[in-house]
């Protein structure tokens, strides 16, 4: 199977062989008035039939050959000039190309006596309409979110950056899924070295199928064993746009609303889109609280255990006695109690994601009443532990990006383990270990903790304190001067 034969029967036979057992393939052949045989091949449900009927079938059947400035004598000539009232027409010389295009939803047109075929892009399948992103909702700012269709997604970005420097390179990845992946970047702003590296890595991917951008994420990451994500994912076009303008690179994957952004730093996980939409003074306050809550989200259980079981002299007097009173009945050591509650809390959280909507209330009753209240009243778990765990859980949701909060949930267990063994010494040990890892981690050449370590005074203006836009002279200004 290689080139297209001039005989339409041969072609049809080989196409039918190729699409054997495909119930949704449609072959439609008909003769024009000049007795030329035509064959249309397409997949049912993948093409806009209306467009096919109006632009191809009707004119050919009823009006004969379309007449332009010159008179067209034969269908072959029309073919040569690609004279069809449709925009995207490709001429396929080989059968493989034709098959590929038909699979993508194009309409294949074969003509008796022609050694080539036309594939007309009339893709028209049902897609989800643009909705507000559920995972990263904001109070102010655009309500548009990415959808599964990559072309819609690219257009969402293209609409926001009206500049020819926005480049979109297309890659096809996956032996079977043939998934389209688009590498978007701003020419002149994005780092060429990073771009070359990403291109090289994308070409190297060998996989049967890409179901979600997460597949690509794992192929691209350098430190695969790190618990910290080195690529950010988002379903917000405005975040992608802002990142592109900062000189970052975005990867869009067909079939998923989640775009990838790289390189990222530790801090970008702690920034929300709303930070740039609200008044900056308020944002400074919220960011301080967010940093504090982030610290709480991984350290509070460990701090509680080390304070109450190793260093009770460091807790204020009245608080010590209150905690001691609450602990009078507890059968387990504090570490075990804390570990139990952490497992239960994470279990509840995970169950909440998977539980069918109708059963949601059932789980909140079980969670709140049975585990919260009954366990305390029965004296199995002490009240301060419940408070600590709930506070930790809430704190983790203060982190705006879900994937950015995941590493802290792992660290929570590690720190609990070290503090349970050695108290503050263990806590310090765990923290130092984490910091060493963070400092040595890189995301596509960018140190993970930058601009703090290594320190960069010009980029620090958007870390804890978000300076107003007219005071920031970072990446944006440089780009404007070019």
């Amino acid at each position: 199977m290689n080139t297209i034969s001039t005989s339409i029967e041969v072609n049809e036979a080989s196409l039918r062989k190729e699409f054997d057992h495909c119930s949704d393939i449609v072959f439609r052949s008909f003769r024009l008035r000049d007795q030329t045989l035509l064959l249309l091949v397409y997949f049912d449900g993948m093409t806009r039939l209306q467009s096919v009927e109006d632009n191809i079938l009707k004119p050919l059947l009823f009006s004969g050959l379309p007449q332009g400035i010159d008179r067209i004598q034969s269908l072959g000539e029309m073919f040569g000039r690609e004279w069809l009232p449709l925009t995207d027409i490709k001429k396929d010389k080989s059968l493989e190309d034709l098959v590929h295009h038909i699979l993508q939803g194009s309409l294949g047109i074969l003509v008796e006596g022609e050694a080539s075929a036309l594939s007309v892009q009339v893709q028209g399948y049902k897609t989800r309409s643009i909705e507000e992103p559920k995972k990263e909702s904001t109070l102010r700012g655009s309500k548009e979110g990415f959808v599964e269709d990559i072309h819609t997604n690219v257009s969402l970005i293209r609409r926001r950056i009206i500049h020819p420097h926005l480049k979109t390179d297309s890659f096809t990845i996956g032996t079977y899924t043939q998934t389209e992946v688009i590498l978007a970047y701003m020419q002149g702003l994005a780092d060429e070295k990073v771009l070359a590296e990403v291109r090289k890595k994308l070409e190297k991917i060998e996989i049967d199928g890409i179901i979600d951008s997460a597949y690509i994420e794992e192929w691209l990451e350098e430190s695969s064993f790190s618990i910290f994500p080195q690529i950010q994912n988002t379903e917000r076009p405005d975040i992608v746009t802002a990142s592109l303008l900062e000189g970052k690179i975005a990867l869009l994957t067909n079939g998923t609303p989640f775009a990838l952004i790289l390189p990222v730093t530790f801090w970008s996980g702690l920034q929300s889109a709303d930070d740039y939409f609200e008044r900056f003074i308020f944002v400074i306050l919220i960011r301080f609280i967010r940093f504090l809550m982030t610290f709480i989200s991984f350290s509070l259980p460990a701090l509680y255990v080390s304070l109450s079981t190793f260093h009770p002299e460091m807790i204020p007097r009245t608080l010590t006695i209150s905690i001691a009173t609450a602990r009078e009945q507890s059968p387990f050591p504090t570490v075990i109690e804390m570990l139990l509650m952490m497992i239960i809390f994470d279990g509840l959280q995970e169950a909440g994601v998977h539980i069918p909507n109708q059963l949601g209330p059932v789980m909140s009753i079980i969670g709140a009443l049975i585990i919260g209240q009954a366990a305390v009243e029965a004296g199995i778990i002490s009240t301060p532990i419940i408070i600590v765990i709930s506070l930790t859980g809430i704190a983790a949701y203060m982190i705006p990006r879900y994937s950015a909060a995941l590493p802290f949930r792992i660290i929570r267990y590690l720190l609990l383990f070290t503090s349970g063994l050695l108290g503050f010494v263990g806590f310090a040990f765990g923290m130092i270990f984490m910091l060493i890892h963070l400092v040595s981690l890189e995301s596509f050449g960018t140190p993970y903790l930058s601009p703090i370590a290594p320190f960069d005074g010009t980029r620090i203006k958007d870390l804890i304190i978000r300076y107003p836009f007219w005071m920031k002279n970072g990446r944006n200004k440089k780009g404007r001067q070019q």
Partner: protein, 384 residues
């Protein structure tokens, strides 16, 4: 590489946890000492009593009827540690003194034994947080003080600690005591409590520990005298420790009285003429707020205000001067004047420091006051 790192961490964790190589103590394995009492015992021994809080009873008021939220255990020993060890042997939980609020020493112990023996334990043992307050119990034994109930607070010791704080006398921690004992140019000043029967309700009167005054201790930590309540606040002010206090002075040729709240208490020391260490000038500063006036005078009149401020300064000066003279007769320099002289006349100080308690008596100290009347209150003229 990754494997070995993981294995190393895993095995270290496993070894530490399975061998029980942790030394955590749960809060319900601890007995919190809130107060310690030191009493005199025969044969050169001391009696140490520890007031221990019962956690499960502390927050529940319904259970407080009849049974108290604490208990006191005491034992005799040659030193504090030995006695405490004896108490520990009778306890199911580990004693923890880090949260102690009060160390009470009986007057009897001050008289018959040497307090300096206790001093070493105070600064050597790291379990002492030095945030607690050392008080002297006049009359009764210190152990008795620990056993008292208090009408509001669950423990008598907590009550005393709060009493001192709320009345602007924060600088009586044992840390301050240690500093004053170790410096040569200052002497400790210690709160004195007395147990008195107070009628709190119709049915019964109960014993309550009340602040009686402040003991002036000398270099050997012996009591040289006790300043009673009318004089003690002034002495605290002059030693630079107080933050606020009240004052009531006669007015209108002793026919009426006016009362003030004094805030922002400060004191300054200078030597007279700038070079004579034997003649000191102690200036006290404060801001006064008029809160009560029994006379019929209109205080919103500027002349009256000026008169009032002048009278206040004069009266306070008189009282403080007599307090200083009283303390000077006893000898110990609780005001820290010696420290000022040490800093400003180091060579002169060298000849004086060894017998400062005695030499302080011969220093001439003049008190000057600089009190500003800030406010005359909400109403100016008395209501007709």
């Amino acid at each position: 590489m990754m494997r070995t790192v993981f294995l190393a961490f895993f095995s270290v964790g496993l070894v530490l946890s399975t061998s029980g190589c942790t030394d955590f103590v749960e809060l319900n394995q601890l007995a919190f000492i809130i107060g310690t009492a030191i009493d005199y015992a025969e044969n050169g021994q001391i009696e140490v009593s520890q007031q221990i809080v019962i956690p499960s009873k502390k927050e529940d008021p319904s259970k407080r009827e009849g049974s108290s939220s604490f208990f006191v255990m005491s034992a005799k020993g040659k030193d504090v540690f030995q006695a405490t060890q004896k108490i520990q042997l009778r306890m199911s939980r580990k004693l923890m003194a880090n949260h102690r609020m009060i160390i009470a020493i009986s007057e009897e112990y001050f008289k018959k034994d040497d307090v300096r023996k206790l001093f070493d334990k105070l600064i050597r043992d790291p379990a002492n947080n030095l945030r607690d307050t050392i008080v002297m119990i006049k009359g009764g034994s210190a152990k008795e003080f620990l056993m008292l109930n208090h009408p509001i607070e669950p423990l008598s010791t907590i009550a005393v600690g709060k009493e001192l704080q709320i009345n602007g006398m924060r600088s009586f921690s044992s840390r301050q005591f240690v500093i004053e004992t170790l410096t040569k140019g200052a002497r400790p000043f210690m709160p004195v409590l007395q147990i008195e029967n107070v009628k709190l309700s119709k049915e019964h009167d109960s014993p309550v520990a009340e602040l009686h005054g402040f003991a002036v201790l000398d270099h050997h930590l012996k009591v040289k005298g006790i300043l009673g309540l009318p004089e003690a606040p002034g002495a605290i002010w002059m030693s630079g420790k107080g933050s606020s206090q009240g004052a009531t002075i006669p007015w209108n040729n002793n026919k009426d009285v006016v009362s003030f709240r004094l805030t922002r208490l400060q004191r300054q020391m200078t030597s007279a003429n700038g070079h004579d260490p034997k003649h000191m000038v102690l200036t006290v500063k404060a801001q006064a707020y008029l809160l009560e006036n029994t006379s019929q005078q209109d205080m919103s009149e500027v002349e009256n205000m000026m008169e009032l401020q002048k009278c206040l300064n004069k009266q306070i000066q008189k009282e403080l001067q007599s307090t200083i003279e009283k303390v000077q007769q006893w000898g110990p320099d609780v005001f820290g004047i010696g420290e000022y002289l040490h800093h400003n006349y180091p060579y002169w100080w060298k000849s004086q420091r060894d017998d400062w308690d005695d030499k302080f008596k011969r220093i001439e100290v003049t008190v000057k006051t600089d009190i500003i009347l800030r406010s005359i209150g909400v109403s100016g003229a008395p209501v007709k």
